[in-house]
Point group: C2
Chain length 231, copies 2
């Protein structure tokens, strides 16, 4: 599998289930990985500590955490303005844009990744967006990722000099169960990952927000027990 | 001219000559303006103070300054890693990517503007990039701006709900002399603007960096004296 030796990848690593799986995929494919995480006023800020542990576990020494203040844009449950909903019907998950949407979040994250890719001379940026479970997020759709890639290849000195950049979302069309199966095969320790939008002060998952429900269902479909700590 | 009453615009305002002119254009066209500035470790950080004064002068009460740390990406004279060059031949200015290039800077700035446009429900983002004097910057070219607009219209909840966003660079095809003439006609006080990449501690312009030379030539071509303070 190590077909990409000597190629560099920037991986957006939140410390959650999806991005940890992407990190494992990048490493398994032989990329020299730069991991990039963000502290953006999210309620579950301890994600970045977990991202650090996960990067270390996969032997990624190049891990940068960038502080950005998305909270100035307000209006999202994820940055603390209002309560994370616990009553959503699972069947309705794909229909509306979730209350946890943060304006232009993935565009801001990918813009920093683009800068980092230029500095590190990386040929690929990988991120854990997924179109199936959360099609409600506009910046998790395939057409968005493709469009960002087109823009990125016009944006930098490195691109103008003939080094194209791929923006790859390897989980885009996988179900949560498929993502978990893939990660398990690659040695991801999911007890180290967080998904909950509303953990308690001991960082134990609530078990009832959208993210917890999707995750628990993914493990159930694999006939496995989620190793994360729940309240 | 006030044809855009009740429409909102986000204007990227660095406090320099170009972006101050763009602010004047946005106000003259009737937009309700949100100005957005960045502190990103640039040597000429007092630009943001000037941006505040310029916003105030044009009656723009909604002005946000965002702290971002581009210096982690290194490799640009503008963020202090090495000396601003003073020996460039004016004729060569358009041929190479300047040493003052900052990786993915406009993409990062526009990404924040995209988020702000969503929160403010703006229909347009305006920025002062220019393809003539600085064609060396990849993220100042028309094809880049168009591509960012395409991506932006796939990226947000607001776009998905049918509210398209325009990314407009009104100075894109103007010479520096034409920009200055346009701004003077709209009442821009260019003594309030900074262009120098390497001012002294009293914020007086050096007169010899690329930005100073282009600016001085622009005033000369208008048969005017640049009102900025020089060393």
């Amino acid at each position: 599998m190590a077909v990409n030796n000597n190629q560099k990848a920037v991986v957006l690593l939140s410390g959650g289930l999806d991005s940890s799986t992407v990190l494992a995929i990048a490493v398994s494919e032989g990329y020299e990985v730069t991991a990039l995480s963000f502290r953006y006023g999210q309620n579950h800020a301890h994600e970045t500590d977990q991202a650090t542990k996960i990067a270390k576990k996969f032997g990624v020494g190049d891990h940068t955490i960038i502080d950005i203040d998305l909270s100035i844009f307000g209006n999202s449950a994820l940055t603390g303005q209002f309560e994370v909903p616990k009553t959503i019907n699972m069947a309705a998950l794909s229909e509306d844009i979730p209350i946890t949407y943060v304006p232009a979040r993935n565009t801001i994250f990918l813009s920093y990744a683009l800068a980092m890719a230029e500095v590190r001379e990386a040929s690929i940026v990988m991120l854990g967006v997924n179109a199936l479970d959360y099609s409600g997020y506009p910046d998790c759709r395939p057409e968005y990722v493709e469009s960002f890639e087109e823009m990125a290849n016009l944006a930098t000195k490195r691109a103008v000099e003939g080094n194209s950049l791929k923006i790859v979302a390897p989980l885009l069309h996988l179900t949560k169960a498929q993502i978990i199966a893939r990660g398990m095969a690659l040695g991801v320790d999911y007890s180290m990952t967080t998904s909950c939008y509303d953990p308690d002060i001991s960082n134990r998952a609530c078990g009832s927000c959208d993210a917890c429900r999707l995750r628990l269902r993914g493990f159930q479909e694999n006939k496995m027990i989620d190793p994360a700590e729940y309240q």
